[in-house]
């Protein structure tokens, strides 16, 4: 009978070596960051014991850098820490409001947005916000690092693009300029401690009243969060009038392929995702005007 093991390697090279060793010995590995999903999964019936590799002691995964040159959010940085960062509050208000919607104060003290991404739930709130913000995954591999855009990282329900022997080091983002702001809105029946029925992340650039760039991503309405280029196309080149917002919302509705469950029917989710898109675009636009 396999038993649990625990290791907290001191370096990235040690970590990838351990992942390779576990794989060669046929042991299942579980990467541990904040643990708010992992420990719940460990308690569920049918979970098989595995080698836990804690990545919280690595310098690379604890990086939190915010400067004009770019933003780096390490895989071990908890939501509470990014939400308290004054420069991030100005730079990526949408990503932070998504992170702030995930769980309680207690959860946010441990949970990481990189863990939210790796867990790959269709309803993970931070994922559409990351996609909208144009985040790129910095992945440690046996031979170095590779990069994957967040929209290509989640490949199915609970499945991500990490190959055996790889782990997520952190997220890279460009520092948004003053004409670029993001927003994330989700719908839940309760105001707190709930799972999204639908969610929309938006990032806009508006120069001289004209939208010059847009990224729109939807969550909880398909097996994975996804970019909706047709929604962005409806916005770019317009002054973000009601008609443009309506067309962007309809594009989100068309892109959605939701399931019906206790949180809402597929039809309801499609309607809600269009409304959220319009509101999130309006909110991001307001933020640019207010800056």
């Amino acid at each position: 009978m396999e038993s649990y093991a625990y290791a907290a390697p001191g370096s990235v090279s040690e970590t990838v070596a351990l992942l390779a060793q576990n794989a060669s010995e046929g042991r299942q590995t579980q990467i541990l960051a904040g643990g708010t999903d992992v420990l719940v999964q460990m308690r569920s019936s049918g979970h098989t014991p595995r080698a836990i590799v804690d990545i919280k002691t690595l310098a690379e995964t604890n990086r939190l850098e915010v400067s004009a040159d770019g933003i780096y959010i390490g895989a071990a940085v908890p939501s509470a820490v990014i939400n308290e960062h004054p420069l991030l509050q100005t730079a990526l208000p949408g990503l932070l409001e998504a992170a702030d919607l995930i769980g309680s104060t207690q959860i946010q003290g441990r949970a990481t947005i990189c863990g939210n991404l790796c867990n790959a739930s269709p309803a993970g709130d931070s994922i559409p916000a990351m996609i909208a913000a144009g985040a790129v995954c910095d992945i440690a591999t046996p031979t170095g690092t590779r990069e994957v855009a967040v929209e290509d990282f989640v490949v199915g329900v609970g499945r991500n693009a990490l190959a055996p022997g790889e782990f997520l080091l952190g997220l890279k983002l460009a520092m948004p300029n003053a004409e670029t702001k993001d927003a994330y809105l989700r719908f839940t029946p309760r105001t707190e401690m709930d799972i999204a029925v639908a969610g929309v992340g938006v990032s806009l650039t508006v120069i001289g009243g004209q939208c010059t760039n847009a990224r729109v991503a939807i969550g909880a309405v398909a097996p994975t969060a996804m970019l909706v280029p047709e929604a962005a196309q409806a916005l770019v080149g317009t002054d973000l009038n009601g008609d443009a917002l309506h067309r962007a919302g309809e594009a989100c509705k068309s892109a959605a392929s939701p399931i019906s469950d206790k949180r809402g029917t597929a039809e309801y989710r499609k309607k809600v995702v269009a409304v959220l898109c319009r509101r999130a675009v309006a909110l991001a636009h307001q933020r640019i005007q207010g800056a």
Partner: protein
């Protein structure tokens, strides 16, 4: 399976314990260290009964491995009262009758202490959002909110 040896600091005192790789901090506190003030409610991070502070950060002990306590500073309900007696939060929970069965109370007090460290004078909305991860099935929360407000007042203007 060999047990893991962990050195940590709990309520200001250096402690050593042995635990299994998959044993939660909550189980370590209760079963290995005899600190049973921290309660188990759901065991899945939903109810907040097992709230503790790890390096001053509020977390659920059920969502942390015991081995992750290595090198950390842990504060539990047992560390809240001082030599002079109860903490103002503990006193105000009693004064306001902000508990009935009491299972959720240690978690509420630890979570409220973290709240007041960050927001010394929180309004009702701030208190309710901060404590949204602590569930109480007895009181209906109003008395808890009042107890936290009264403790905040007492701490900013000691009698």
């Amino acid at each position: 399976m060999a047990r893991l040896q962990v050195e940590t600091v709990i309520n200001g005192e250096p402690r050593e314990f042995l635990c299994d790789a998959n044993q939660s901090m909550l189980d370590v506190l209760r079963d290995e260290l005899g600190l049973t003030g921290t309660k188990e409610g759901c065991g899945t991070g939903d109810c907040g009964a097992c709230s503790v502070l790890v390096d001053d950060r509020l977390v659920c002990a059920c969502l942390m491995l015991g081995v992750e306590a290595s090198g950390k500073n842990i504060e539990t309900i047992e560390g809240i009262a001082g030599d002079e007696g109860l903490h103002p939060l503990q006193r105000q929970f009693l004064e306001n009758a902000a508990l009935q069965c009491g299972i959720c109370t240690p978690g509420f007090i630890v979570a409220s202490k973290a709240l007041l460290a960050k927001h010394p004078n929180p309004d009702e909305e701030t208190i309710r959002y901060w404590l949204a991860g602590n569930l109480c099935r007895c009181t209906g929360y109003d008395k808890i909110v009042r107890a936290v407000q009264d403790a905040a007042a007492e701490m900013s203007h000691p009698a």
